[in-house]
């Protein structure tokens, strides 16, 4: 399905079909922003607090800038964003595609010789592959800002010291690897959700099962792939 979808990419970007891609970009990106904002800020705050309290025992709390920034960029940014998107957008895609299968909309597309992979999968695949890295940058920024807030208010690490420390040790590679992970996770979520939607049977019960399977399979794949990518880039 993924290979078939990539063959249609030039077609999806034609003027007539672009609107569906933009619609999916909006659904994936803008509609996820609220929950991502809260989760990202608190992830950074928790990271800063937990790390900072331990580091303070050794008088090293000024290093939380690096700790939070590196962990957010390398791991927590893409990981937390992917979990939220899988749970919200992925499950919604599975439910929508599953309902389309059950209500014969996919059959109707086939009769009209409209390739369901091109028509349904591709806009969602492009949207998730594009929006996941963008959302991850947003998560990273909010996470780092949340860490800075905790540093300043509870660990006596000034905002300037926090940022200086982060800039000292965080590398561009951390950002790029994180964004690569986000891109891969986006593709994983889109293909899992669409596949589970397409194999839906048995009406409403089947749609519920497809949604549940999408979240579980996406979570597990994200975890395993996250580890593997980390292993590849950080030996």
């Amino acid at each position: 399905m993924l290979f078939e979808a990539t063959l249609f990419i030039p077609l999806a970007l034609t003027k007539r079909r672009r609107s569906e891609v933009f619609n999916q970009l909006y659904i994936t990106g803008i509609k996820s922003l609220g929950v991502i904002t809260v989760v990202a800020a608190f992830t950074g705050m928790i990271l800063a607090l937990q790390t900072g309290l331990e580091l303070r025992r050794f008088g090293l709390q000024q290093n939380i800038g690096t700790a939070v920034t590196v962990v957010m960029m390398r791991e927590m940014g893409p990981f937390m964003t992917a979990l939220i998107v899988a749970a919200s957008v992925g499950s919604a895609i599975a439910a929508q595609v599953g309902t389309m299968v059950v209500s014969e909309e996919v059959s109707a597309l086939e009769i009209m010789s409209i390739n369901p992979v091109r028509f349904i999968v591709l806009p969602r695949l492009i949207a998730l592959a594009v929006m996941m890295p963008i959302l991850t940058i947003y998560t990273n920024i909010l996470g780092v800002a949340g860490g800075a807030l905790v540093g300043a208010t509870q660990l006596q690490v000034s905002f300037q010291a926090y940022i200086d420390n982060a800039q000292l040790y965080a590398q561009n590679k951390d950002l790029y690897v994180g964004l690569l992970k986000a891109f891969v996770f986006g593709i994983v979520i889109a293909t899992t959700a669409c596949h589970q939607g397409f194999v839906t049977t048995e009406g409403a019960v089947g749609v519920g099962q497809a949604t549940r399977r999408t979240v579980i399979i996406s979570f597990l794949t994200i975890l395993v792939l996250g580890y593997m990518l980390t292993r590849v880039f950080y030996r």
């Binding site: 209500s103 059959s107 086939e110 009209m112």
Partner: protein, 254 residues
Amino acid sequence: MIRFENVTKRLGRRNVLDGFDLEIKAGETFVICGPSGMGKSVTLKHMVRLLTPDSGHVWVGDDCVSEARGKELERIRARFGVLFQSGALLEWLTAGENVGLPLREHTDKGDEEIDTLAREKLRMVELEDAFDKHPSDLSGGMRKRVALARAIITEPEIVLYDEPTSGLDPVTSRTIDELIDNLRKQLGITSVVVTHDLHSALAIGNRIAMLNYGKAVEVSAPEEFMKSTNSVVRGFLEAQYITRRGAWEKGLKV
């Protein structure tokens, strides 16, 4: 026009079609009726290769649809319009966009021209006002009429109707019947209708087939169908309070 040759289809543990033979002529309205689970919708799905026979062949003119692949299958499917039981409208598109979808996907026509054609087809089903409405804003009968407009926008040779009147009130059901009948008269379309509704079948059908346990146990014109001595046909007629001396025998049609 459409020919089933010794078609067998097994779904689960049951032969839904069992050595099934049927011939539908060009330009007629052919109605397939029968008890639930006896293969009516399965028969319909074989005509457009949504299902493939386990054995036997399905022909559409000179094309063997049961063995067609890729572009050939697309070419055969382009000869059909299908009205699905639920309407199968895409929920995120408006009625106008749904109707124009096949043209938007397969032709180089401009958006304005497509919209004009979509409005024309919606006018044919008396729903021009619904152009900008989403399917969720439409009633069951209106959704089916929009789906019918979509089915005919490419001017197909054959239109398949899967339970076109199911779940509709009697007045809306008769409106749908009239639309099916008018389309045949105006456009010369070959129509294949799957229904439980014998009132509808007798009103619009040129021939009616009764399916039972994977075989057509009766294929005849409405007048002969009414007089059939087949027990399944008689049971179906009587269950819907249609008797030999009923109004249909006097030739009351849509």
